[in-house]
């Protein structure tokens, strides 16, 4: 049975010249788990929003969309609201009310259901999603993962037949993201609800899905099973999308596998083991971005607390010029606080922060942030004060030569006339970074810079940051993104319970961890020593002439 059918559907935004969704034919069966992927700006979001009539964007459309055999436009308002659920990327903005239980009831109240029915639905939904423990909480006190779970639960309380999710895990840390996907899988498996999910992190979702839709420039480039997708990729080794595949698939595709491409870590391990067949590999060496290394920022024995309990205890790190350091750790481990202390935005209760050998508290405030430290907040929107990107850059510096240099360096020239809110998350991140770089900092502190941006934007960001390192700047990033930290940083520190538990060269750091490490490391553990990225594994195998012809 079909639940969604698109007949030659096209959609164009007002004032646009090309279709955002281009002659799409699509048929989605009941109870399927469909993954929609593609590069940023390929029309994923536009397509998904067109499937939910209440939030469909304005513009010109042609062709038809059917829900359960009825034309979507003819669907009754109540039915459309309750039977098609929609969850978006930002966990915060979707929440309407102030308490968890009220949020769960919100949609049901809208439908005008009587209290006993709402009572029952709220109770069983809370039970299914395991939110009994924080049922009476204030939504503001929840973590991002909990908020997104609440959004999903609030939609599910309306008992939809189809749920559409637009990059729901992009703002979550990896553990919360996995939990979210697990629940999504349960919804699909146990309740038979149809799921349409867009994602750019394929590592965890590919194995969950029945069908994958790959979009390019608003059109469907591929629609089929995940297995077929990967086989399809094997035939086009230089496809841009290759980079977004799970590590196991990337490794095996690069080494010539064409027929039985592994997807999960477990399959990847088995595949690699049979390929390596007992070969002894050499230990990989850490490459250092820059040799010009000198300590510039140093915290020693820093303690900090907001209220009674300490968030930082004995937090000590040394930041070297010309190097990129990643501080990784779980939720509420004190990462963000640590960064604020290093930036001089929070005063430690005990201990010192030294900038170029001099205590931070001895500096005048404007000296710290002029040509010294710059910090990128998690949300780039905090930095946009003007109507165009260019005006925002001018706000940071009126030196035109400098500005031109940064615009070229970051590739911002196409964005200058746009409003900062109209560009993508990755582009916003770049503009905010550009504003900071115009202040000519020597030390860049970045809070979760890879949050919510796709693989390509991540690569661009890494290039920019590495370039700063070669210029002799120090870069510190606080992140959940283990893969990014492994691939690009020189040094890694793990913070747990407010304390730096270990600090090492990136390679040794991840090779030494068992749980907190990259997929490539999990795949190659005990087979190839100290390989932490897919590239490491591929290079090591190629060096030993291990690949399929």
């Amino acid at each position: 049975m079909e639940i969604i059918r698109l007949n030659n559907y096209s959609f164009m935004y007002p004032k646009a010249t090309v279709n955002a969704v281009d002659s799409m034919d699509l048929s989605i069966q009941k109870s399927q788990f469909v993954l929609v992927c593609g590069q940023s700006g390929c029309g994923k979001t536009t397509l998904l929003r067109n499937l939910k009539k209440e939030i469909a964007p304005h513009g010109k459309s042609s062709g038809e969309i059917y829900y359960n055999g009825t034309l979507l436009a003819d669907l009754d308002a109540k039915e459309s609201a309750s039977k098609i659920g929609f969850v978006r990327q930002n966990p915060d903005n979707q929440i309407v009310t102030d308490t968890v239980w009220h949020e769960l009831a919100f949609g049901l109240e809208n439908l005008g259901l009587p209290t006993p029915v709402i009572r029952r639905r709220v109770a069983e939904t809370a039970h299914f999603f395991g939110i009994n423990a924080w049922f009476e909480s204030d939504v503001f006190s929840l973590s991002g993962g909990q908020k997104q779970m609440l959004n999903l639960a609030a939609v599910m309380a309306m008992q939809p037949k189809l749920i559409i999710l637009d990059e729901p895990t992009a703002q979550l840390d990896p553990i919360a993201a996995k939990e979210f996907l697990t629940v999504l899988r349960r919804i699909n498996q146990e309740l038979g609800t149809t799921v349409i999910l867009s994602e750019h992190r394929l590592e965890d979702v590919l194995s969950l899905s029945d069908k994958v839709l790959l979009m390019k420039d608003g059109a469907s480039e591929f629609f089929g099973s995940p297995k077929q997708l990967i086989e399809n990729m094997a035939e086009q080794p230089n496809h841009v999308f290759g980079k977004a595949l799970p590590s196991a698939s990337r490794i095996s595709l690069a080494l010539g596998e064409k027929t039985s491409v592994p997807v999960s870590v477990r399959e990847g391990r088995a595949w690699l083991k049979s390929l390596a067949n007992g070969t002894n590999f050499d230990e990989a060496e850490q490459t250092i971005t820059s040799e010009k290394k000198a300590p510039v920022l140093q915290t020693s024995d820093v303690w900090f607390r907001y209220d009674e309990s300490f968030v930082l205890r004995n937090f000590s790190v040394v930041v070297n010029s010309g190097q990129m350091m990643s501080i990784v750790g779980g939720n509420a481990s004190g990462k963000t606080t640590a960064l604020s202390v290093m930036a001089g935005l929070l005063e430690p209760v005990r201990g010192t922060v030294k900038l170029n050998g001099k205590r931070l508290s001895k500096y005048k405030k404007h000296e710290i942030y002029k040509n010294n430290i710059a910090k990128l907040e998690q949300n780039p929107k905090t930095m946009f004060a003007c109507d165009t990107v260019l005006a925002d850059l001018v706000e940071a510096s009126d030196n035109e030569d400098k500005r031109r240099e940064i615009i070229a360096q970051l590739g911002l020239s196409g964005l200058l006339e746009k409003h900062p809110y109209d560009i993508s998350g990755g582009e916003q991140q770049k503009v905010a970074l550009g504003k900071l770089l115009l202040m000519e900092p020597k030390i860049l502190l970045l809070d979760e810079p890879t949050k919510g941006i796709d693989v390509y934007a991540k690569d661009e960001l890494a290039e920019i940051l590495k370039h700063r390192c070669t210029l002799g700047d120090a870069v510190v990033i606080v992140t959940h993104d283990v893969e990014f930290a492994a691939e690009h940083s020189d040094e890694c520190a793990m913070i747990f319970n407010g304390e730096v538990m270990c600090r090492d060269k990136a390679r040794d750091f991840f090779a030494g961890n068992m749980f907190y490490t990259t997929s490539a490391n999990r795949i190659s553990r005990d087979i190839i020593p100290k390989a932490i990225t897919p590239k490491d594994v591929i290079d090591a195998c190629k060096e030993k002439q291990l690949f399929l012809k």
Binding site: A81, N90, H102, N110, L345, E377, K381, A385
Partner: protein, 287 residues
């Protein structure tokens, strides 16, 4: 921490806390003020903890001292002149009256700390939201907006600081304030579009809204409600038939402790300590 009284039906909780507040406001009888102060303090410590209570107490003490001093300076009623200050008589009665009103305000203040803990927003909305579901929803949305906005302001200030935007002069400070509020405005508006869409997506406006509440009457609530109502009635009766008369002007005095008056004090104390007594009974039961 969850307390027993929290779990009672909101109307019962509201009845009790309003009785405590209103009685504390209308009586200037020193014994009543002392009873109210002790009961309010005890309950405030129980609900908010000693630390928070001491903080309140520090503020309340200052207020008490100020009012006690100010009243005799401006109010020269009363016949017992203690001394003259700037040619104005300072009377014993005005001093006593000042202390009584200071004490009364202190009580009201401490009761309010209890009110805040007891009458959470959802309880308030439950009591008054049924009649006006739209306003109830709006209130709930505003209550969500307040902490979110506070958080956003903090982020914007920090981002500004780390960009070297510092307010050294007053003029600059105003300029930065304008800048920050413009950022806040665009950010909030952008976010609220998403919230509005989320409301639409979940069928806001497709039917007449109902108002769901998590509270339900139980027989227990009714019994407790009846007891509190009876106590309130008794205390009102004792006040209308003034058994314990105490006046401040022209001379302070009156019958503070009449035999029948003691019954009134005891009833008043039982009313004010009612939740504490409930908790006590519960503690004994579960030990």
């Amino acid at each position: 921490m969850k307390h027993i009284f929290h779990l009672y039906y909101p109307a019962v909780v509201f009845l009790y806390i309003m009785a405590a507040l209103i009685f504390s406001m209308i009586t200037l009888n020193p014994v009543c003020i002392i009873i109210s102060f002790l009961a309010a303090s005890g309950y405030s410590i129980y609900l908010n903890g000693v630390k928070s209570y001491l903080k309140t107490l520090r503020f309340v003490a200052v207020m008490f001292v100020i009012i006690s001093i100010i009243n005799p300076l401006f109010n020269h009623n009363g016949v017992t002149i203690l001394f003259y200050m700037f040619d104005n008589p300072i009377t014993l009665e005005a001093c006593l009256f000042g202390m009584a009103s200071g004490g009364m305000l202190a009580c009201i203040f401490i009761w309010f700390t209890c009110y805040n803990k007891l009458m959470t927003n959802e309880k308030f909305l439950h009591l008054f939201g049924k009649a006006m579901p739209t306003i109830a929803l709006m209130l709930s949305m505003i209550l969500r907006l307040v902490p979110t906005t506070r958080y956003k302001i903090k982020c914007i200030t920090n981002a500004g600081k780390a960009m070297g935007i510092q307010a050294e002069t007053r003029r600059k400070r105003i300029a930065h304030g304008v800048r920050a509020s413009s950022i806040l405005l665009s950010w909030t508006m952008e976010d609220s579009i998403e919230t509005a869409e989320s409301m639409n997506a979940r069928g806001y406006g497709v039917a007449k809204r109902t108002s769901f509440t998590a509270f339900k009457w139980s027989p227990h609530d009714i019994i407790t409600g009846v007891i509190i109502t009876a106590l309130v009635g008794a205390v009102i009766y004792m006040m209308i038939v003034p058994f314990n008369t105490y006046v401040y002007y022209p001379t302070a005095g009156g019958e503070l402790i009449a035999p029948i008056g003691i019954v009134g004090y005891v009833l008043y104390a039982i009313l004010l300590c009612f939740p504490l007594l409930l908790e006590l009974r519960e503690t004994i039961k579960w030990r």
